[in-house]
């Protein structure tokens, strides 16, 4: 777990910016006894937000839209993965029938 200070150092952003991202709900750290704790996924997401702002020059209003789209895409991928896993557990003839149908 990383602290707010760790994020400031690794992402090279100001504390106040990270706090704003948390308040806006773009980042979801947990708060333990008053201190924010960031998981690896939160750190990677902070990097992404920084890149969107700085490298890509995207304005603040557009950030949540982009984050949502990325999250939606990831959620869809997860659902597809679950369907494929369920399919992989089925008997050979059923899997072949599905493959046939997909080739049409």
């Amino acid at each position: 777990m990383k602290t707010l200070d760790d994020i400031v150092v690794t992402c090279r952003v100001r504390r106040i910016e990270v706090r704003r991202w948390v308040e806006a709900g773009w980042l979801l750290p947990v708060e333990v006894d008053g201190d924010l704790q960031f998981a690896e996924v939160d750190v990677a997401r902070a990097h992404l937000i920084r890149d969107l702002r700085r490298a890509l020059g995207i304005n603040e209003a557009a950030i949540p839209v982009i984050l949502d789209l990325i999250d939606q895409r990831q959620a869809s991928e997860q659902r597809l993965r679950r369907v494929l896993e369920a399919l992989a557990d089925q008997p050979e003839d059923l899997r072949q029938a599905v493959l046939e149908r997909l080739r049409r």
């Binding site: 947990v30 006894d33 690896e40 990677a44 990831q74 991928e77």
Partner: protein, 310 residues
Amino acid sequence: MRDPYETLGIARSASQDEIKAAYRKLAKKLHPDLNPGDAKVESQFKDVSGAYELLSDADKRGRFDRGEIDAAGAETQRGFYNAYAGSQEGAKYRARQGGHNMGGMGEDDMEDILSSMFGGGGRRRGGAAMKMRGQDLNYSLAVDFLDAARGATKRITLPEGGQLDVKIPAGIEDGASLRLTGKGGQGFNGGPQGDAFVTIQVRPHAVFRREGRDVHIDLPITVGEAVLGGRIAVPTIDGSVQMSVPKGSSTGKTLRLKERGLTGKGGRGDQFVHLQIVLPDKPDEALEAALKEWAEEHPYDPRASLKRAT
């Protein structure tokens, strides 16, 4: 690494604005989170970012131009968000899709897919609604070594506002996961709530080291204590205890405090105390004089076994 000017596709005389514009254009095209699953794009993005980092810093750029530094090492180590696309950790972000709030329909919501497979309507159509269990949610929690050793209760405030009291059992190991039944996402149509899983990270301690159920510490002692022995206060996870150091204890001698270790399967472990003789901060004349005389009269060879083995 390639020439940073070449990587960004700019002239060596490019202005800072031109460098920034070139970088932004490439970053938009190449950002790995916008191009999932393309390793080539990811490595290109890293090159481009490294080149920009070098050239956007006037000082570094000058040193590079003068040949004082090369282009290597400019890129920083980082993980991309997309690497967590399938992780439990990232589920909290994916869980709030489609305008639903946290605990709403996320990736676990398979009903749309199921109903289209079996010819039913969408999930909101009256009787077609199925009872569904809420989503399981995952959190990580870092705790101090002593809290993990002794057990503690931590109040965590979740990003979406809720609070969880997490009871950490004494002796919990780094990486262990606690299940809080019914503390996950809301159920649907009368279905039960999901569970919350909390993964515990134990922070290292400056003094105590853990090995299985046992605790190890290095204990500095004086020359006097080493030679003469005595009773010494030793920190344990329960606080300080008195321990007897036998006469003539060398550095590396290990003493055991029974059942002062961590609670685990099969009871408590032990604490092992590794002695380390430490001389006074400053050279001491009296000690030198005493030892000079003593050493001449009492020679001994602590390296005899080394000589035999080499």
